[in-house]
Amino acid sequence: MTQAFARSSKQTFDRLSNPAGGHSHPSCASPRSNSLFLHLMKATMQRNTSTLLTSLTACALAIGTQTMQAQTSATPLPATIKIVSSLPRTGSANAQTTSMVNGIRMALTEVGGKVHGVEVLYEDWDDASPQRGNWDPAIEAANADKGIADSMVVAYIGTYNSGAAKVSMPKLNAAGLAMVSPGNTYPGLTKPGTGEANEPMVYRPSGSINYFRVVPTDDVQGFVAAEFAKSLNATKVFVLHDRELYGKGIADVFNASAKALGMEVVAFDGLDTKAANYKAIATKIKQSKAEVVFYGGTTQTNAAQLAKDLLAQKVDAKLIVPDGCFEEAFIKAAGANALEGRCFITFGGVEPKLLGGKGQVFYENYKRLYGKEPEAYAAYGYEAAKVVLTAMERAAEAGSLSRAAVLKEIAATKDFSGALGNWSFDANGDTTNKVMSVNTVKDGKFETVKVVGS
């Protein structure tokens, strides 16, 4: 004890005598320490760089009695803080969310697990239950409550499903805990006038914004899909959806955009996502002589089966699906045959390997670290974590790592240069990044056909 104490005091004085001041400097980055006292000391030092004397006094007092020290430093930076993610880890979305969690871990590793010398813990929470095999509202709500109750948590990365966000957003908002979603694309979560009359205010009981997302919303994507259908010279389109929040939402946008662009929507049907096959629907599509089929759905809601059955029933219509299908699993599930030249996938961004700048670095690192191609949303997980960590760094610099401080800094994210390019959060908490791509499958791999909005 005495030894540890002596060592930590020495380091404290080292820091004090460091001409670089309080800003962290590689040479004095202390090894991981389990001494609370050390952290408190460091925090004191960092905060009061300008007033060396005060620090010295504080320090002297601290050497005298630890309790005194705790009283004298006003709002010290904590020793460790936590960020958590709440994603569906059990069940069918597992592949995508594993990739996202990997992205988050990467972001954390890149900063050495610390911001401004404060150790950052990360916990990967599951919002799915084995009964549901999918996100479970009770678990998501419990996660939100758990996050709120744990005072170490300063940021909540999640959710993957927009429906889940609807559950946790008001809770986290009331508690003033920042929430950054790498996957929610339902527009009504942030944009007034796109959803219900009470959206998005209903998610903001405190009146201020705590929810941000690094992924462009479906209203952009649905429109891009419709434009692309038009560019395929389609006159008749057949719109299907999976009767879930995401799929139905984007199909609605596509439906409206297609009509606006002068195409005829011959049918707007919901699919039974658990059905064995869609050959009967494929027959109906064939009968309708539509040139394009749009399916608002994901790999998990059986989009691959639809693609296969269109091929099996010799339907010539092209299939357009949204980014819920932009993952390796979709190609593997459908088989490249059913997709090549027949299927187009829109995505709110570009595929990881086409990312430029920092994105390319991310892509290379990810492949090196995990030994496989990242899924499409990996970059969003990474980006969300990056934004949070950067904001925390700024907040720490400004002297506080409280929830409010972190939230303020996340909201202030501007001209952020990350893996997804250069972007900011707008007043609603949406990313200004509107890059969209249309992809197809060639030789069993995604290939970008068109990039819009960059």
Binding site: A280, I281, K314
Partner: protein
């Protein structure tokens, strides 16, 4: 746009309904047999069927990797012998597995209440689903796996998918459809004959009528139950290959819907009745296809279950179920 009556469309939907219905009927037989003998709704049956498809997928993968079949030829030419082998192997696998499940999970509960058996079946179904998830994670290089364990997998066409009615025809009928009938109908006939004429079959019928009486007459009831599970499992395994080949998809979650459809079919036809299960399966397949075409796919489940309720109001023991007279 959608002509109400279009003979091509009608014909196509009938064909689809029959093909889907045949597979459902084959699974329904497994439910109805087990139910007939021990009055257990075997919830794990649908998931067992799912494991059969995974075995088929793995075997096809192995066959491709070992150069037994040429991956390039999948879908272009037919691999009858491979399909036949798979039906047998997966059938035996599922039959054996069903036997083991019965032995370890249900048999100790024979004397417990029906509900405890049901919960055990639910538990087994969860376990199998998890096994399916892990199986999906096996490194099946060609067929996908690893991190995407949970995703549905593509099952290659084992038979040619050229249209037998000619490339110009609106109605599509391929060997995929034919193979279902070629496998299913003989199996059903064989089962019917087996139950009617063999000694074991008669013992099964006797046990279904009255287990205690059968036991007193010297029927080894445990053997009969085991045989029932084995045969039901075999049919489920055979169905799993047909299903995988017909839909060209294998997923660890597909057991639920297949099981539910089959269970509905079994009840619709009259649970405990073999011809009832076949009829129920075909009917459900047809109603699904017709509803998808003429009502709208989002209403298909509603249509199927409303029909079920209506039929049960007028025929409380299903279409071919015998009127139950309680022994007093």
């Amino acid at each position: 746009m959608f002509e109400w009556f279009d003979s091509d469309v009608l014909l196509q939907q009938l064909l689809l309904g029959l093909s889907n219905g045949m597979i459902i009927a084959l699974i329904a037989l497994g439910y109805t047999m087990v139910y007939g003998i021990i009055e257990l709704i075997n919830f794990a049956h649908g998931d067992l069927f799912m494991l059969g498809s995974f075995l088929a997928l793995t075997l096809v993968g192995v066959a491709m990797n070992c150069g037994i079949v040429d991956p390039e030829l999948m879908g272009a030419s037919s691999h009858w012998w491979l399909l036949g082998t798979l039906v047998l192997v997966c059938g035996v696998f599922c039959g054996g597995l069903n036997l083991c499940i019965d032995h370890f999970a249900y048999k100790p509960l024979r004397r417990a209440s029906k509900l405890s058996q049901l919960v055990a079946a639910i538990g087994v179904s969860f376990i199998i689903v998890n096994v399916g998830l892990f199986w999906g994670g096996l490194p099946m290089d060609i067929l996908g796996g690893g991190g995407a364990a949970a995703a549905p997998k593509d099952f290659p066409h084992l038979v040619s998918d050229t249209n037998l009615l000619g490339e110009e025809s609106f109605v599509v009928m391929t060997w995929n459809d034919v193979v279902i009938f070629v496998v299913t109908i003989p199996l059903m006939i064989a089962l019917t004959l087996f139950v009617k004429f063999t000694k074991l079959g008669m013992a099964m019928r006797a046990t279904a009528q009255h287990a205690t009486a059968a036991r007193l007459m010297g029927v080894d009831v445990n053997k009969v139950i085991a045989a029932t599970f084995a045969i039901g499992g075999f049919l489920g395994g055979a169905a799993s290959v047909l299903y995988a080949n017909y839909n060209s998809t294998v997923s660890f979650q597909m057991g639920f819907r297949a099981g539910m459809d089959a269970f509905t079919a079994a009840v619709l036809g009259g649970i405990g009745s073999l011809p009832g299960a076949m009829l129920g399966g075909l009917l459900i397949g047809l109603v699904r296809a017709m509803s998808d075409q003429y009502v709208g796919s989002e209403w298909t489940n509603v249509v199927v279950f409303s029909l079920l309720v209506l039929i049960l109001i007028f025929r409380p023991t299903g279409l071919l179920g015998l009127k139950q007279r309680e022994k007093v």
